[in-house]
Protein backbone atom coordinates (compact mmCIF):
# COMPACT_ATOMS: atom_id res chain seq x y z
CA UNK A 1 0.00 0.00 0.00
CA UNK A 2 1.34 3.46 -0.91
CA UNK A 3 2.31 6.12 1.61
CA UNK A 4 -0.61 8.33 0.56
CA UNK A 5 -3.16 5.52 0.95
CA UNK A 6 -1.77 4.72 4.40
CA UNK A 7 -2.04 8.41 5.31
CA UNK A 8 -5.73 8.34 4.34
CA UNK A 9 -6.35 5.82 7.16
CA UNK A 10 -6.02 8.54 9.82
CA UNK A 11 -9.29 10.15 8.67
CA UNK A 12 -11.50 8.04 10.95
CA UNK A 13 -9.77 8.85 14.28
CA UNK A 14 -9.52 12.51 13.21
CA UNK A 15 -13.26 12.65 12.55
CA UNK A 16 -13.90 11.22 16.03
CA UNK A 17 -11.57 13.82 17.55
CA UNK A 18 -13.38 16.67 15.76
CA UNK A 19 -16.75 15.41 17.05
CA UNK A 20 -15.36 15.18 20.62
CA UNK A 21 -14.15 18.80 20.30
CA UNK A 22 -17.59 19.94 19.12
CA UNK A 23 -19.33 18.02 21.95
CA UNK A 24 -16.98 19.55 24.56
CA UNK A 25 -17.61 23.03 23.17
CA UNK A 26 -21.38 22.56 23.19
CA UNK A 27 -21.15 21.22 26.77
CA UNK A 28 -19.11 24.31 27.66
CA UNK A 29 -21.84 26.56 26.27
CA UNK A 30 -24.55 24.62 28.13
CA UNK A 31 -22.78 25.15 31.48
CA UNK A 32 -22.79 28.90 30.79
CA UNK A 33 -20.10 30.98 32.43
CA UNK A 34 -19.20 28.64 35.29
CA UNK A 35 -15.68 27.40 36.01
CA UNK A 36 -16.64 23.96 34.70
CA UNK A 37 -17.68 25.50 31.38
CA UNK A 38 -14.30 27.23 31.10
CA UNK A 39 -12.43 23.94 31.57
CA UNK A 40 -14.66 22.17 29.04
CA UNK A 41 -13.90 24.83 26.43
CA UNK A 42 -10.20 24.98 27.28
CA UNK A 43 -9.81 21.20 27.00
CA UNK A 44 -11.67 21.31 23.68
CA UNK A 45 -9.25 23.99 22.42
CA UNK A 46 -6.20 22.00 23.49
CA UNK A 47 -7.58 18.81 21.91
CA UNK A 48 -8.25 20.77 18.71
CA UNK A 49 -4.66 22.04 18.65
CA UNK A 50 -3.41 18.48 19.10
CA UNK A 51 -5.25 17.12 16.03
CA UNK A 52 -2.75 18.49 13.44
CA UNK A 53 0.06 17.29 15.70
CA UNK A 54 -1.38 13.76 15.64
CA UNK A 55 -1.43 14.01 11.84
CA UNK A 56 2.21 15.10 11.90
CA UNK A 57 3.28 12.29 14.26
CA UNK A 58 1.38 9.71 12.18
CA UNK A 59 2.93 11.03 8.96
CA UNK A 60 6.41 10.91 10.50
CA UNK A 61 5.87 7.32 11.67
CA UNK A 62 4.69 6.38 8.18
CA UNK A 63 7.80 7.94 6.67
CA UNK A 64 9.95 6.07 9.18
CA UNK A 65 8.16 2.84 8.28
CA UNK A 66 8.93 3.22 4.56
CA UNK A 67 12.59 4.01 5.26
CA UNK A 68 12.49 7.81 4.76
CA UNK A 69 14.55 8.46 7.87
CA UNK A 70 15.52 12.01 6.97
CA UNK A 71 11.91 13.09 6.39
CA UNK A 72 10.88 11.42 9.66
CA UNK A 73 13.58 13.46 11.39
CA UNK A 74 12.19 16.63 9.77
CA UNK A 75 8.80 15.65 11.22
CA UNK A 76 10.35 15.36 14.69
CA UNK A 77 12.03 18.78 14.29
CA UNK A 78 8.67 20.29 13.22
CA UNK A 79 7.01 18.78 16.29
CA UNK A 80 9.74 20.20 18.54
CA UNK A 81 9.33 23.63 16.94
CA UNK A 82 5.56 23.50 17.55
CA UNK A 83 6.15 22.67 21.21
CA UNK A 84 8.67 25.56 21.33
CA UNK A 85 5.99 27.91 19.96
CA UNK A 86 3.61 26.88 22.78
CA UNK A 87 6.37 27.22 25.40
CA UNK A 88 7.33 30.66 24.10
CA UNK A 89 3.71 31.73 24.45
CA UNK A 90 3.68 30.41 28.00
CA UNK A 91 7.00 31.88 29.11
CA UNK A 92 7.31 35.23 27.31
Amino acid sequence: MSLEKLNEKIRVPLTIFIYIVIILLVAGKIFGSSERAFYFVLSAMILLLLIPMFRLIYASLLLLKVGEHRSALYGLITLMLSVTAALLGLLL
Partner: protein, 264 residues
Protein backbone atom coordinates in the same frame (compact mmCIF):
# COMPACT_ATOMS: atom_id res chain seq x y z
CA UNK B 1 -21.49 36.29 27.04
CA UNK B 2 -25.04 36.92 25.88
CA UNK B 3 -26.82 34.23 23.91
CA UNK B 4 -27.46 36.34 20.81
CA UNK B 5 -23.75 37.26 20.59
CA UNK B 6 -22.87 33.53 20.65
CA UNK B 7 -25.36 32.91 17.85
CA UNK B 8 -23.89 35.77 15.79
CA UNK B 9 -20.35 34.43 16.36
CA UNK B 10 -21.51 30.96 15.32
CA UNK B 11 -23.16 32.28 12.14
CA UNK B 12 -20.21 34.51 11.19
CA UNK B 13 -17.69 31.71 11.66
CA UNK B 14 -20.00 29.28 9.84
CA UNK B 15 -20.05 31.64 6.83
CA UNK B 16 -16.26 32.01 6.96
CA UNK B 17 -15.77 28.23 7.27
CA UNK B 18 -18.15 27.65 4.36
CA UNK B 19 -16.93 30.38 2.02
CA UNK B 20 -13.18 30.31 2.67
CA UNK B 21 -12.35 26.75 1.58
CA UNK B 22 -14.72 27.01 -1.43
CA UNK B 23 -12.76 30.01 -2.74
CA UNK B 24 -9.42 28.38 -1.99
CA UNK B 25 -8.57 30.69 0.89
CA UNK B 26 -8.74 29.98 4.60
CA UNK B 27 -11.37 31.79 6.60
CA UNK B 28 -8.79 34.04 8.28
CA UNK B 29 -9.37 36.97 5.96
CA UNK B 30 -13.00 37.05 7.10
CA UNK B 31 -12.56 35.95 10.72
CA UNK B 32 -9.92 38.46 11.90
CA UNK B 33 -11.78 41.60 10.69
CA UNK B 34 -15.08 40.10 11.87
CA UNK B 35 -13.76 39.59 15.42
CA UNK B 36 -12.01 42.97 15.47
CA UNK B 37 -14.69 45.12 13.84
CA UNK B 38 -18.02 43.54 14.80
CA UNK B 39 -17.23 41.89 18.13
CA UNK B 40 -14.77 44.56 19.24
CA UNK B 41 -12.00 42.15 20.28
CA UNK B 42 -8.53 43.70 20.61
CA UNK B 43 -6.60 42.96 17.38
CA UNK B 44 -4.16 40.54 19.04
CA UNK B 45 -7.08 38.56 20.52
CA UNK B 46 -8.82 38.59 17.13
CA UNK B 47 -5.67 37.03 15.59
CA UNK B 48 -5.43 34.32 18.29
CA UNK B 49 -9.13 33.46 18.15
CA UNK B 50 -9.03 33.36 14.35
CA UNK B 51 -6.07 30.93 14.39
CA UNK B 52 -8.03 28.52 16.64
CA UNK B 53 -10.96 28.68 14.21
CA UNK B 54 -8.69 28.01 11.21
CA UNK B 55 -7.39 24.83 12.88
CA UNK B 56 -11.00 23.63 13.04
CA UNK B 57 -11.69 24.72 9.45
CA UNK B 58 -8.62 23.04 7.94
CA UNK B 59 -9.09 19.76 9.82
CA UNK B 60 -12.83 19.54 9.14
CA UNK B 61 -12.31 20.36 5.46
CA UNK B 62 -9.52 17.76 5.12
CA UNK B 63 -11.75 15.08 6.66
CA UNK B 64 -14.85 15.86 4.62
CA UNK B 65 -13.10 16.35 1.28
CA UNK B 66 -10.97 13.20 1.59
CA UNK B 67 -8.05 15.14 0.16
CA UNK B 68 -5.32 13.69 2.35
CA UNK B 69 -4.62 10.90 -0.17
CA UNK B 70 -3.03 13.53 -2.44
CA UNK B 71 -0.75 14.94 0.26
CA UNK B 72 2.98 15.01 -0.44
CA UNK B 73 4.09 14.17 3.09
CA UNK B 74 7.84 14.44 2.49
CA UNK B 75 7.65 17.88 0.90
CA UNK B 76 5.01 19.14 3.34
CA UNK B 77 7.03 18.14 6.41
CA UNK B 78 10.24 19.60 4.96
CA UNK B 79 8.65 22.98 4.20
CA UNK B 80 6.79 23.01 7.51
CA UNK B 81 10.06 23.40 9.44
CA UNK B 82 10.52 26.85 7.85
CA UNK B 83 6.85 27.76 8.13
CA UNK B 84 6.82 27.13 11.89
CA UNK B 85 9.99 29.24 12.29
CA UNK B 86 8.04 31.98 10.47
CA UNK B 87 5.01 31.50 12.74
CA UNK B 88 7.13 31.85 15.88
CA UNK B 89 8.83 34.97 14.50
CA UNK B 90 5.47 36.37 13.36
CA UNK B 91 3.89 35.77 16.76
CA UNK B 92 6.77 37.43 18.57
CA UNK B 93 6.75 40.41 16.20
CA UNK B 94 2.96 40.79 16.36
CA UNK B 95 2.84 40.75 20.16
CA UNK B 96 5.54 43.42 20.33
CA UNK B 97 3.89 45.64 17.71
CA UNK B 98 1.31 48.34 18.32
CA UNK B 99 -2.28 47.31 17.46
CA UNK B 100 -2.57 50.24 15.04
CA UNK B 101 0.40 49.07 12.94
CA UNK B 102 -1.00 45.52 12.79
CA UNK B 103 -4.35 46.88 11.60
CA UNK B 104 -2.55 48.80 8.83
CA UNK B 105 -0.54 45.72 7.75
CA UNK B 106 -3.71 43.61 7.71
CA UNK B 107 -5.58 46.23 5.67
CA UNK B 108 -2.71 46.33 3.13
CA UNK B 109 -2.63 42.51 2.83
CA UNK B 110 -6.44 42.49 2.38
CA UNK B 111 -6.09 45.05 -0.42
CA UNK B 112 -3.44 42.93 -2.18
CA UNK B 113 -5.61 39.79 -1.91
CA UNK B 114 -8.61 41.80 -3.14
CA UNK B 115 -6.73 43.06 -6.22
CA UNK B 116 -5.41 39.57 -7.03
CA UNK B 117 -8.90 38.07 -6.80
CA UNK B 118 -10.42 40.91 -8.83
CA UNK B 119 -7.84 40.31 -11.57
CA UNK B 120 -8.68 36.60 -11.51
CA UNK B 121 -12.41 37.34 -11.74
CA UNK B 122 -12.00 39.82 -14.63
CA UNK B 123 -9.79 37.37 -16.53
CA UNK B 124 -12.52 34.79 -16.02
CA UNK B 125 -10.18 32.05 -14.88
CA UNK B 126 -10.88 29.79 -11.95
CA UNK B 127 -8.38 29.25 -9.16
CA UNK B 128 -7.37 25.90 -10.63
CA UNK B 129 -6.80 27.31 -14.12
CA UNK B 130 -4.81 30.22 -12.79
CA UNK B 131 -2.38 28.04 -10.93
CA UNK B 132 -2.52 25.03 -13.24
CA UNK B 133 0.19 24.98 -15.88
CA UNK B 134 2.97 22.63 -16.76
CA UNK B 135 2.86 19.35 -14.88
CA UNK B 136 6.62 18.84 -15.15
CA UNK B 137 8.28 18.41 -11.83
CA UNK B 138 11.07 20.96 -11.60
CA UNK B 139 12.51 20.00 -8.25
CA UNK B 140 16.05 21.24 -7.68
CA UNK B 141 18.25 22.50 -4.88
CA UNK B 142 17.70 26.17 -5.78
CA UNK B 143 13.94 25.63 -5.77
CA UNK B 144 14.27 23.99 -2.38
CA UNK B 145 15.76 27.21 -1.00
CA UNK B 146 13.13 29.37 -2.73
CA UNK B 147 10.37 27.09 -1.39
CA UNK B 148 11.83 27.34 2.11
CA UNK B 149 11.91 31.14 1.84
CA UNK B 150 8.31 31.26 0.61
CA UNK B 151 7.21 28.97 3.44
CA UNK B 152 8.95 31.21 5.96
CA UNK B 153 7.03 34.20 4.54
CA UNK B 154 3.75 32.24 4.72
CA UNK B 155 4.46 31.36 8.35
CA UNK B 156 5.31 34.96 9.19
CA UNK B 157 1.99 36.09 7.72
CA UNK B 158 0.10 33.39 9.65
CA UNK B 159 1.77 34.24 12.95
CA UNK B 160 1.35 38.00 12.58
CA UNK B 161 -2.09 38.29 11.02
CA UNK B 162 -3.98 35.15 12.08
CA UNK B 163 -4.53 33.80 8.57
CA UNK B 164 -3.59 30.31 7.34
CA UNK B 165 -1.18 31.58 4.69
CA UNK B 166 -2.60 29.08 2.18
CA UNK B 167 -2.33 31.60 -0.66
CA UNK B 168 1.46 31.72 -0.30
CA UNK B 169 1.80 27.98 0.36
CA UNK B 170 -0.13 26.91 -2.76
CA UNK B 171 1.75 29.50 -4.83
CA UNK B 172 5.13 28.25 -3.58
CA UNK B 173 4.24 24.58 -4.07
CA UNK B 174 2.75 25.16 -7.51
CA UNK B 175 5.06 27.75 -9.04
CA UNK B 176 8.33 27.25 -7.19
CA UNK B 177 8.30 23.52 -6.48
CA UNK B 178 6.18 22.70 -9.60
CA UNK B 179 3.81 20.37 -7.70
CA UNK B 180 0.55 19.56 -9.58
CA UNK B 181 -2.39 21.69 -8.37
CA UNK B 182 -4.44 19.01 -6.55
CA UNK B 183 -1.34 17.72 -4.79
CA UNK B 184 -0.29 21.28 -3.91
CA UNK B 185 -3.73 22.07 -2.44
CA UNK B 186 -3.79 18.89 -0.31
CA UNK B 187 -0.20 19.40 0.87
CA UNK B 188 -0.98 23.04 1.66
CA UNK B 189 -3.99 21.96 3.75
CA UNK B 190 -1.83 19.47 5.68
CA UNK B 191 0.72 22.25 6.29
CA UNK B 192 -1.88 24.87 7.27
CA UNK B 193 -3.18 22.61 10.06
CA UNK B 194 0.27 22.32 11.66
CA UNK B 195 1.14 25.99 11.04
CA UNK B 196 -1.99 27.43 12.62
CA UNK B 197 -1.90 24.89 15.44
CA UNK B 198 1.59 26.12 16.42
CA UNK B 199 0.50 29.75 16.04
CA UNK B 200 -2.72 29.21 17.98
CA UNK B 201 -0.90 27.45 20.85
CA UNK B 202 1.47 30.45 21.06
CA UNK B 203 -1.48 32.86 21.32
CA UNK B 204 -3.52 30.55 23.60
CA UNK B 205 -0.76 30.17 26.17
CA UNK B 206 0.00 33.88 25.97
CA UNK B 207 -3.62 34.51 26.99
CA UNK B 208 -4.49 36.13 23.67
CA UNK B 209 -7.40 33.85 22.75
CA UNK B 210 -10.86 34.94 23.79
CA UNK B 211 -12.19 31.59 25.06
CA UNK B 212 -15.79 32.83 25.28
CA UNK B 213 -15.84 33.99 21.65
CA UNK B 214 -13.78 31.06 20.37
CA UNK B 215 -16.22 28.36 21.54
CA UNK B 216 -19.22 29.20 19.29
CA UNK B 217 -16.89 30.36 16.50
CA UNK B 218 -14.99 27.05 16.42
CA UNK B 219 -18.26 25.06 16.22
CA UNK B 220 -19.50 27.31 13.40
CA UNK B 221 -16.20 27.19 11.49
CA UNK B 222 -15.95 23.39 11.77
CA UNK B 223 -19.55 22.83 10.62
CA UNK B 224 -19.11 25.32 7.77
CA UNK B 225 -15.96 23.57 6.57
CA UNK B 226 -17.65 20.13 6.81
CA UNK B 227 -20.39 21.46 4.55
CA UNK B 228 -17.90 23.16 2.21
CA UNK B 229 -16.05 19.86 1.79
CA UNK B 230 -19.28 18.13 0.76
CA UNK B 231 -20.51 20.80 -1.69
CA UNK B 232 -17.27 22.25 -2.99
CA UNK B 233 -17.73 20.86 -6.52
CA UNK B 234 -21.44 21.65 -6.85
CA UNK B 235 -21.44 25.43 -6.49
CA UNK B 236 -20.30 27.93 -9.12
CA UNK B 237 -17.12 29.48 -7.81
CA UNK B 238 -17.50 32.77 -9.74
CA UNK B 239 -20.60 33.73 -7.76
CA UNK B 240 -18.84 32.88 -4.49
CA UNK B 241 -15.76 34.81 -5.57
CA UNK B 242 -17.95 37.83 -6.26
CA UNK B 243 -19.48 37.63 -2.77
CA UNK B 244 -16.05 37.13 -1.23
CA UNK B 245 -14.68 40.15 -3.13
CA UNK B 246 -17.41 42.43 -1.80
CA UNK B 247 -16.73 41.22 1.76
CA UNK B 248 -12.96 41.71 1.31
CA UNK B 249 -13.43 45.23 -0.09
CA UNK B 250 -15.70 46.17 2.81
CA UNK B 251 -13.29 44.77 5.42
CA UNK B 252 -10.26 46.44 3.79
CA UNK B 253 -12.09 49.79 3.80
CA UNK B 254 -13.17 49.36 7.44
CA UNK B 255 -9.66 48.32 8.53
CA UNK B 256 -8.14 51.42 6.90
CA UNK B 257 -10.85 53.50 8.59
CA UNK B 258 -10.02 51.81 11.90
CA UNK B 259 -6.33 52.62 11.41
CA UNK B 260 -7.12 56.32 11.09
CA UNK B 261 -9.57 56.39 13.99
CA UNK B 262 -7.56 54.23 16.45
CA UNK B 263 -5.62 56.17 19.03
CA UNK B 264 -2.10 55.31 20.22
Amino acid sequence: MEFHVSILLFLGAFAAGLLGPMIGLGGGFILVPMFALFFKLPFHEAVGTSLICIVATSQAFAISKRSSANTDLKLGIFLEIFTICGVIAGGLIATSLNEKILVLIFACVLTVIFSLMLRRLIKGSSADELIEGSEDLCFSKAQNYAGAGGSLAGGLMAGMLGVGGGVIKVFVLRHVMCVPFKRAAATSNFMIGITVSAGASFYLFKGLVNIGSAAPAVIGAALGAFLAGSFVHRIKSRVLEGIFLIILAYFAFRMFLDFFTLTG
